[in-house]
């Protein structure tokens, strides 16, 4: 039932009763009080005239004494009723305004609007729990990739931030505790269009609860979680959470990748960054001795990544016992002598990984004074310190929010992307160099959009129809449907065959497409719509393959056929298209 309407009616009961009472007293009096008509005969007002008089008198409009001039008795009663009616109206309007400003009523109205907007979502959407630094970054990136999002956050301020942020599409925001199953249901957990849940709150416990709630209430939905400790991570994985993102471990892994092969790292960065932002520059972390300040969760993850690549590390830690660190230099690393002791002068890299941004900056600046050539890696804990880290010109900055948002984005974009990234690591540097140069050729200065296309009856009807009669190659598909001798600015990264899940990494242009194929594409954002059109529009596909603009309607087709006798198909010689 309509909660808002009921709340409104219940609160309006008294004011409405007051109004009815005031009107009936005023009307009843006017009808009973004797008057004189224009002939001087005794006359009593009819109910109709009384109602008319009261109606225009109550809101203080006042048309005068109708239909005849009032007697003194009638005037007396009229003055009483004016006070009565005006007060009744003021009271009623005051109640309405009070009700509209009432927090409980406002809450009911906003809840109802939210429910309605979620119920009406037809496009696939994700539920993002937690709209902090990471959440806002992820939501913006998802919107840019044309996905719909519903946000839950426990703080009203953040929901207000969401409402104030200018997004093209409406993002419903629910202020509630996401670990409460009721609020997840309100946000659309059971909705058929819901595609997944992302738990990004800064409380591991809440993330855990969200993950298990989703897995119990709607097991088909993927859940992606952020976890700050190994312990939570294992706990979440134990009941089938689809992806647990530990930002420290992810970063340590990336650093190891960069040490191993800068170009692989670059490829990874390009494909998983927020689309539309500036392309990240390659980094070349040197192999040699590294100094690692802070041996907390971050330090441990970085050390694991470095030692995996056989890099020697010297650890500086203020609390060796608490962090279970053996044989490390005691100190914070912010002072020159601690760094000297750790051997900064012959180290090639320094990692400032404490949980205090000012200390991290101080470590980096001091280290660079002692050893100007050192490669600096900084851990940035708070989003508002971005400017400082940029000014410190660190070679690599680890931003919590960015690492998590990028990892989640890679998973939400397409299931093929993580597979591609995984397979890419097994390839050699020459291959990676070639892919990187091909991507930069189509996207220029911006991070490419990455998306996948499935050759299935409901996503690519026109293409499948055509495939049944003639072969189509990847190059054909990636032609511009407006100017067929040009290519769409996009490349295919991966083709996954339907039969046996065979995967083709960076397939060549003459690969012929097969029904059921899944394609992972990367390129400029505008190519998404063009490929989409070719897959669905048989006319556009025809033009793409043959170079002819065929008439679409059957009357025109018949006309053209009559005017141009002879077999038309001979003209569609494929030789002239290449």
């Amino acid at each position: 039932m309509d909660k808002v309407l009921f709340l409104f009616l219940r609160r309006m009961r008294t004011p409405l009763l007051v109004l009815v009472a005031a009107y009936s007293i005023a009307i009843g009096g006017l009808v009973l009080v004797p008057g004189l008509d224009d002939q001087g005969q005794p006359w009593r007002m009819s109910f109709f005239h009384a109602f008319y008089f009261v109606t225009y008198t109550a809101p203080t409009i006042g048309f005068g004494e109708i239909p005849y001039a009032f007697s003194e008795a009638q005037r007396m009663w009229a003055s009483v009723s004016i006070y009565l009616l005006v007060i009744a109206w003021l009271y009623a309007i005051g109640r309405v305004l009070g009700l509209l400003g009432d927090p409980a009523f406002k809450l009911a109205v906003s809840r109802q609007a939210l429910n309605r907007s979620i119920r009406r979502m037809h496009d696939p959407f994700f539920i993002v729990c937690g709209y902090g630094d990471t959440g806002s970054l992820l939501v913006a990136a998802l919107l840019r990739r044309r996905k719909r999002v519903v946000v839950i956050d426990i703080k009203q301020d953040r929901i207000n931030d969401l409402l104030l942020s200018d997004t093209d599409t409406h993002v419903p925001g629910l202020c509630a505790d996401a670990s409460d199953s009721a609020s997840l249901k309100t946000a659309g957990l059971g909705h058929p269009a819901c595609q997944g849940v992302v738990a990004l709150t800064d409380d591991d416990n809440a993330n855990l609860t969200i993950a298990i709630t989703v897995k119990l209430l709607n097991p088909r939905l993927p859940v992606l979680c952020r976890a700050a400790t190994r312990d939570t991570e294992r706990n979440m994985e134990s009941f089938g959470t689809d992806q647990v993102i530990n930002p420290f471990a992810t970063f340590g892994d990336r650093l190891a990748l960069a040490l191993h092969s800068p170009v692989h790292h670059l490829l990874h960065q390009w494909l998983s960054s927020v689309p539309g932002s500036d392309l990240p520059m390659p980094i070349y972390p040197p192999a040699g001795r590294w100094v690692l300040c802070g041996f907390g969760r971050f330090g441990k993850a970085v050390q694991a990544g470095l030692s995996q690549e056989g890099v020697e590390t010297v650890i500086v830690e203020a609390d060796p016992e608490g962090t279970d660190c053996h044989g490390c230099v005691h100190g914070r690393g912010t002072e020159a002598d601690t760094l000297q002791e750790a051997g900064i002068t012959n180290a090639v890299g320094i990692v400032a990984g404490t949980d205090h941004d000012a200390n991290n900056l101080s470590i980096l600046v001091t280290a660079r004074q002692l050893q100007p050539e050192v490669f600096t890696v900084g851990r940035q804990n708070r989003d508002q310190h971005s400017d400082l880290f940029r000014a410190a010109r660190t070679d690599l900055t680890m931003r919590h929010s960015e690492v998590i948002a990028e990892a989640i984005l890679a998973h939400l974009t397409s299931t093929l992307l993580p597979q591609f990234l995984q397979q890419a690591r097994a390839q050699d540097e020459a291959w990676a160099n070639e892919v990187v140069s091909r991507i930069s050729a189509v996207t220029g200065e911006r991070v490419p959009a990455v998306w996948s296309v499935a050759l299935e009856p409901d996503t690519a009807p026109a293409l499948l129809e055509r495939l049944a009669t003639a072969p189509i190659t990847l190059d054909d598909l990636l032609r511009d449907p407006r100017q067929r001798d040009q290519q769409i600015p996009c490349i295919a990264l991966l083709v996954q065959r339907d039969d046996g899940g065979k995967r083709l990494l960076t397939p060549p242009g003459d690969t012929s497409l097969k029904p059921g194929d899944q394609l992972l594409l990367a390129g400029q954002g505008r190519s998404v719509a063009r490929i989409h059109r070719v897959l669905r529009d048989s006319h556009a596909l025809d033009y793409l393959l043959t170079g002819q603009d065929r008439p679409q309607g059957w009357i025109c087709r018949g006309l053209v056929g009559a005017l141009r006798p002879g077999p038309r198909h001979t003209e569609t010689d494929r030789g002239d298209t290449t």
């Binding site: 709340l7 009616l9 009961r13 009763l17 009815v20 009936s24 009808v31 109910f47 109709f48």
Partner: protein
């Protein structure tokens, strides 16, 4: 004893009795039907309707519906009366009177249902 129930029952039954009082008499004889009684019936019916606002039970919803029907019928009857007296050339003739009274009769039926519903609701209440 509950004061709210007394007030509620009072208005529901008063709505029916006033309605009945106006309805009774020869259907087309203006002398048998008092305009003041119609006015009182409308006011009391309005009050009874407003009292039912915001009740989310099933009976409450049904009571609100019957009252809205009664109010609607009575308001139409009053409008017909006003039209006949002030606008129509033929004045308050037997035909106009008959339609006013039959409209009020319809409203009375709705009021009877209201009263029956209240009685049933009270009877099923085991307290």
């Amino acid at each position: 004893m509950n004061l709210e129930k007394i007030v509620f029952g009072f208005f529901i039954i008063l709505a029916l009795t006033l309605n009945f009082g106006f309805f009774i008499g020869e259907i087309d004889n203006p002398h048998h039907h008092n305009v003041y009684e119609l006015f009182a019936a409308i006011v009391v019916n309005l009050v009874a309707t407003i009292l039912k606002f915001g009740d989310r039970t099933h009976t409450g919803a049904l009571l609100l519906a019957t009252s809205l029907v009664a109010v609607l019928q009575l308001l139409i009857a009053a409008s017909v009366w006003a039209w006949a007296v002030h606008v129509s050339a033929s004045g308050l003739d037997t035909m106009a009177m008959a339609s006013i009274v039959s409209l009020a009769g319809g409203a009375m039926l709705a009021n009877v249902i209201s009263v029956v519903l209240v009685i049933v609701d009270t009877a099923t209440l085991r307290r």
